[in-house]
C-alpha cells in the first residue's frame, strides 16, 4: 500500500508527458482534460492519504524506498518518498489549489496556440512540486527544488517571442540558482556531519547536538540561503515581481500558492535543526520581517495589478519566515495554507480582470469594473479582506497567530509586523478601489469589450473565495473557542521543536487587547484608503509626473534592480571581457606564444655562430676537444 505514494507525483508527470509529446495531435478540450484530470486524480489520492493519516494517528509517517538513485562509497541517496502530516498538508494545497488553477487555465489560455504545451509545463511543475514535498531525503527535495525552478523558467518565459519575458525567466532561474548553491552546500555539510541525507537519520542524530553548535548553525543558514532564493526574500527577491511576465494562472500557482512556499516547507521540515540554532532562527526572523516590511512599502506605489500582488506575496512570505524565526512552525504552515487560498484567488481574479481588459494590467487605466465583472469583484473583495486580516476571513486567523507569537518572542518584531500588515491592508484596498470603483479610465474599445469571464474561470474563483472565507477555521485558536485542529494534526512533526521554542505563552487578556488594537488600526487604514481613492477619486500620476523624490524611489522599487545590475552584473561582464582580452589572450596565451617564439628567436641567435669561416670552425673544434678531454679527466 505504502509504495503507491509514488502515484501522487506520477500522475501529473504522465499528464505532462502526454501533453508534451502528443499534445499537438490532441484537441484543446482533450489536452485540457488530461491536464486537469492528472492533477485532479492526484488530488483525490492526496485527500485519501490525508484522511488515512488523520484517522490513523498512530501511523506517523509512511515511507517507501524505490531504488538507489545516487550511491558512491558511503554516500547513498535512495529515491524514496515519505508521507507525514506536514507533507500531506502540502500535498492537499498543491494538488487542490493546483487543480482549481488548471481548470481556470482551460478558460484563461483558451485562445493560446501553445495550449497543450502550457498544460504540459503546468503538470510538470506539479510533478516536481509534489516530489519536493514528498521526498524523504534532502536530495530528492533538491530535485523537486530545482525542477520547480525549471518549470518556473519555462512558464515565466512562456511567451518566448518577447525577449523581456525570457529575460525575466532567466533572471528567476539564475537568482534561484544562487540560493540553490547555498542549499546544496547545506546538503553537503549535512552529509559530512550526519553521514546521511535522509530526514530520519539526520533528525535522529541531530538530537545529540547541543543548542547553537557551529555546525548546526552553518547547516541551518546554508539551507536558509536556498529558502531565500526560492521564497524570494531579501536580498534575492527581485526575480519574483519580474516573474509576473508569465501567464496569470502561472503567477497564481507557482509564484503565489506553491513554489515560493517551498522555502517555508524546507525550514519547517528541518525544524529540528533550526530549533537547535537560535542564531539561525533569529536570522530567519530578521530577514522575514525586513522583507515583509520592505516589499509592503514597494507595493504601496506600484500601478501594475500583478506587480502589487507580487510584492504582496513577497511580503506575506516574509511573515511566514517571521513565524518560522520565532519558532511558530505551525503558524507558518497555517499561513502558507490560507495564503495559498487568498493569494491564488487574488491572482486569478486579477487574471479575470486582465482577461476582460484585453491584456491591460495598469490600474490607472481601470476603474469602475464593479458592474461589468460582478463575480470577479466580489471574489476580489473577499480576497482583499482575507489578506488584510479582517475576521472571520482566513487571513485573520493565521496572521493574528503570527503576530501573537511575534509579540511573545520580541516586541520589536511585533511592532514591525503590525506596521507591515497595516501597509498591506492599505495597498490592497487601494488596488481594490482603483480597479473596481470610480469611473472607467481605459480606452473606448476596452470599455466596449468588458465582459465577465466564462464559467471555467469563475467557478474556481468561487471555490477559492469560499476557502478564503472559511479556511481560517482549521486553525481556530483556543481563545476564540477553537481547538486548533491544524496544530493537533501537525503535532507529530513539530512537537519537540515547538515545546522548546514557545515556552512563554502570553495571557488571554493580552491577546484580546492585541487583536482589538490590530483591528482598530486596520479600520483606520481602510478608511484612509477609502477616503483617498473612492471619495477623493485620487488616481496615481503617470510615470513622468511623479515629483516627490520619496515617491519616485519607492515607485522604482528602491532602485534595487539597478543596484544589482551596476554592482554585480556589469562589473562581472566588464571584468570577464577585460580578462578575455588582456589576461587570457594577452598574458596566458602570450606566455605560450612567447615560448614558441623564444625557440625561434633563440635559434636565430644561435645560427649567427655559423659565420662560415673555416678557421673559426676548426678553432671551435679544437677548443671543444680540449674541453672534452678536460672534463672527462676530472
Amino acid at each position: 500500500m505504502s509504495r503507491l505514494i509514488f502515484l501522487i507525483p506520477l500522475l501529473p508527470l504522465i499528464g505532462a508527458i502526454i501533453n508534451g509529446f502528443w499534445g499537438k495531435k490532441l484537441s484543446k478540450g482533450l489536452s485540457g482534460l488530461i491536464g486537469c484530470l492528472a492533477v485532479g486524480l492526484s488530488f483525490g489520492l492526496a485527500v485519501y492519504a490525508f484522511f488515512h493519516l488523520k484517522t490513523h494517528p498512530e501511523i506517523e509517517t509512511i515511507s517507501y524506498v524505490y531504488f538507489d538513485w545516487i550511491k558512491a562509497g558511503k554516500f547513498s541517496a535512495p529515491f524514496s518518498l515519505l508521507l507525514d502530516p506536514l507533507s500531506s498538508l502540502f500535498l492537499l494545497i498543491i494538488t487542490g489549489v493546483g487543480f482549481l488553477i488548471h481548470i481556470y487555465s482551460t478558460g484563461y489560455m483558451h485562445d493560446d496556440e501553445g495550449f497543450h504545451k502550457f498544460f504540459a509545463y503546468l503538470n510538470l511543475f506539479v510533478f516536481f512540486m509534489l516530489l519536493l514535498v514528498l521526498g524523504s531525503n534532502y536530495l530528492i527535495m533538491f530535485v523537486g527544488w530545482e525542477g520547480v525552478g525549471l518549470c518556473s523558467y519555462l512558464l515565466i518565459g512562456y511567451w518566448f517571442k518577447n525577449i523581456d519575458y525570457s529575460s525575466a525567466a532567466k533572471k528567476a532561474f539564475v537568482m534561484n540558482r544562487i540560493g540553490d548553491l547555498g542549499f546544496l552546500l547545506g546538503v553537503f555539510l549535512i552529509y559530512i556531519t550526519f553521514g546521511s541525507v535522509s530526514y530520519g537519520v539526520v533528525f535522529e542524530q541531530a538530537k545529540s547536538f547541543t543548542s547553537d553548535e557551529g555546525v548546526i548553525t552553518c547547516i541551518a543558514l546554508l539551507l536558509f540561503v536556498g529558502a531565500v532564493g526560492k521564497s524570494a526574500q531579501l536580498p534575492l527577491y527581485t526575480w519574483l515581481p519580474d516573474a509576473m511576465a508569465g501567464p496569470t494562472p502561472v503567477s497564481a500557482l507557482i509564484h503565489a500558492a506553491t513554489m515560493v512556499t517551498a522555502g517555508i516547507y524546507m525550514v519547517a521540515r528541518s525544524n529540528i535543526i533550526y530549533t537547535l540554532s537560535p542564531t539561525a532562527l533569529s536570522v530567519v526572523a530578521v530577514i522575514g520581517i525586513a522583507t515583509a516590511l520592505f516589499a509592503a512599502i514597494i507595493g504601496l506605489a506600484q500601478n501594475d495589478i500583478k506587480k502589487v500582488l507580487a510584492y504582496s506575496t513577497v511580503s506575506q512570505l516574509g511573515y511566514m519566515f517571521l513565524a518560522l524565526g520565532v519558532g511558530a512552525y505551525t503558524s507558518a504552515v497555517f499561513h502558507v495554507a490560507t495564503h495559498a487560498f487568498f493569494k491564488a484567488l487574488l491572482f486569478l481574479a486579477a487574471g479575470s480582470v486582465i482577461h476582460a481588459m484585453s491584456g491591460e494590467q495598469d490600474i490607472r487605466k481601470m476603474g469602475g469594473l464593479k458592474k461589468a465583472l460582478p463575480v470577479t469583484f466580489w471574489v476580489f473583495v473577499i480576497g482583499t479582506v482575507a489578506i488584510a486580516g479582517i475576521p472571520p476571513f482566513a487571513g485573520f486567523f493565521s496572521k493574528d497567530e503570527i503576530l501573537a507569537h511575534a509579540f511573545a518572542s520580541n516586541k520589536i518584531y511585533w511592532l514591525f509586523a503590525l506596521i507591515g500588515s497595516l501597509i498591506t491592508a492599505f495597498y490592497m484596498f487601494r488596488l481594490l478601489f482603483l480597479t473596481f470603483y470610480g469611473k472607467f479610465r481605459g480606452t473606448h474599445e476596452q470599455e466596449h469589450h468588458l465582459h465577465e469571464s466564462p464559467k471555467s474561470m469563475t467557478i474556481p474563483l468561487i471555490v477559492l473565495a469560499i476557502l478564503s472565507t472559511i479556511g481560517g477555521f482549521m486553525g481556530l485558536p483556543e481563545i476564540l473557542g477553537g481547538s486548533h485542529a491544524l496544530k493537533q494534526f501537525l503535532e507529530p512533526v513539530f512537537a519537540n521543536s515547538e515545546l522548546n521554542m514557545l515556552p512563554h505563552h502570553i495571557s488571554h487578556s493580552t491577546e484580546y487587547i492585541l487583536i482589538g488594537l490590530t483591528l482598530l488600526c486596520l479600520a483606520v487604514v481602510i478608511w484612509v484608503a477609502y477616503n483617498q481613492y473612492v471619495r477623493k477619486k485620487d488616481v496615481p500620476p503617470a510615470d513622468a509626473l511623479i515629483v516627490s523624490p520619496v515617491h519616485k524611489v519607492v515607485y522604482n522599487k528602491f532602485f534595487i534592480d539597478e543596484l544589482y545590475a551596476n554592482v554585480i552584473t556589469k562589473p562581472l561582464n566588464w571584468l570577464s571581457e577585460k580578462t578575455d582580452k588582456y589576461f587570457e589572450n594577452g598574458f596566458i596565451d602570450g606566455i605560450v606564444n612567447f615560448t614558441g617564439r623564444s625557440v625561434v628567436g633563440g635559434s636565430r641567435l644561435m645560427r649567427l655562430a655559423q659565420q662560415g669561416n673555416v678557421g673559426f670552425y676548426v678553432f671551435a673544434m679544437v677548443i671543444g676537444i680540449i674541453l672534452i678531454f678536460f672534463f672527462t679527466s676530472l
Partner: protein
C-alpha cells in the same frame, strides 16, 4: 732487446706530442688551405709514430695494423682533399680559407 728500444719510450712520446702540437698550431693559425692540409697530415703522422712506438714496446702488432689503416685513410683523404682544393683554387684563384665563408646563416 729490439733495436727500436734503444731510444727510450719517453722520447717517442715527446716527439710525437711535439709534432702533434705543431700540426694543431698549423691548422689553427695558417690560412692557406694547403698548409692546413699538410698540418693535418703531420698530426696523423704524429699519431702513427706513437702507435708504432707503443706497438713495439708492448710487443703487440695491433698498433702497427692501425698505422696501416691510418695511412690508407690518409691517402684516400689526400686524394679527395686535394681534388677539393683544386676546385677551390679554380673557383676563387686562391687557397685562402677565409674566402670560403659562403656556408653561413
Amino acid at each position: 732487446m729490439n733495436i727500436f728500444q734503444v731510444i727510450p719510450l719517453n722520447h717517442y712520446i715527446f716527439l710525437s706530442a711535439l709534432l702533434f702540437c705543431i700540426g694543431v698550431t698549423g691548422v689553427l693559425f695558417r690560412r692557406n688551405a694547403i698548409i692546413i692540409f699538410m698540418s693535418i697530415e703531420l698530426m696523423l703522422n704524429a699519431v702513427n709514430l706513437m702507435l708504432a712506438a707503443f706497438s713495439t714496446y708492448l710487443a703487440d702488432g695491433a698498433g702497427q695494423v692501425f698505422v696501416f689503416f691510418i695511412m690508407v685513410v690518409a691517402a684516400a683523404e689526400v686524394a679527395v682533399g686535394l681534388a677539393i682544393l683544386m676546385m677551390i683554387y679554380r673557383n676563387t684563384n686562391s687557397t685562402d680559407i677565409n674566402v670560403l665563408n659562403k656556408l653561413k646563416w
